[in-house]
Amino acid sequence: MNADLEIPATRTGNTEDAAAIARVLAGDPSAFEAIVRRWQTPLVNLAWRFCRDRGRAEEMAQEAFLRAFRNLAQFRGDSAFSTWLFSLATNLYRTELRRMPASPLSLDEIAEPTDPRHAATAFENSSRDESVRRAVLALPAKYRDAILLFYFHEQDVPAAARTLRIPEGTVKARLFRGRELLRSKFNRPRSSKSRTTAQSGSLAEQQPREVQ
């Protein structure tokens, strides 16, 4: 996440969140606006990483806010509000993706490595970045979630583990396997085009060994 974006989370502490939550629970729903304004950018961005569709990302983030509003009384303050909110949103986004997956990516759609005889342009780099991001969505869900949450939390493994509610070691193992899968797909030789065309199916169909 870029530093210039609004990232309140733990940097500003939970006092503002706590005050807003107390007001909402006391019967003032308009106080929820402070929470929305503070967390809208992270929640929309998280949804965007899960679906890569701006309109759908905003719909999913809105649903996450509504669910948070409905279940606000269940937030006991055992963890940071951000952890609770991201867990709730992540569960919702994963459910949404199971219901309606993001556009699947076949191996044929993954960008080929740039020909070194041609100078790489910014466009080519950005095109490959976008291919990488879409390839992440084609990974099996457990690797996809670990990678998305790891990078969303600014490469913070403990934060990703808290959001996913799994041990840090599991997150690290899933990150390793997920990245390995991505590298193996993007670093295959160019001459394999014909073979690639013959192969069909997404990355998700190629299940690696389970690493816990």
């Binding site: 996440m1 870029n2 974006l5 729903p29 308009s30 929820f32 606006e33 929305v36 304004r37 809208q40 950018t41 929309v44 961005n45 965007w48 990483r49 701006r54 990302a57 905003e58 983030a61 809105q62 806010f65 509504l66 509003f69 409905r70 490595p113 740039t114 020909d115 070194p116 005889r117 041609h118 100078a119 790489a120 780099n125 490959r128 970045d129 990488v132 991001r133 992440v136 990678i147 990078y151 600014e154 490469q155 990245r179 991505l182 590298r183 993007f186 670093n187």
Partner: protein, 152 residues
Amino acid sequence: MKPRTPVNPSTVTPNPPDPRLTDVALDAALRDDTILPSSGFSASVMAAVESQSAAPAAIAFPWKRAFPGLVAAAAVLILLLGVLIAAVVRTIHAAPRSAVPVAPAGISVFDWHIGMQQLLQGVPSSGVFWLVLALALSGLCLLLCRRLVSSS
């Protein structure tokens, strides 16, 4: 010393980028991936929140009003269970031991058939009992429904 020939920048071929997906490239692709919410997003969320908070709360089941009916239904069930058990006990005691063959592997379908026949012999054969019971249960259900609807 031989003077160096000036190099025309336009003829310099830049180093070709590494076509392989390195860890650095992967990190960069996945880290720098952000969007900003549209300007009306928070307003849209708050409109949904307001409409949800303004909506009437879900109607709770009227446990207090339904309590007498539930107690009556439970009492009827217990009564029926008692009658059934009494009939079974009476049938077992009344039946001669030789009439109920015991298979080595347990109770067979044939045993159940005989048992049910004996059990039904204990119930009035005219069907009045069942008719009255069915009417009573129907009336009870009707009363309970009317009570719930009129009180809500």
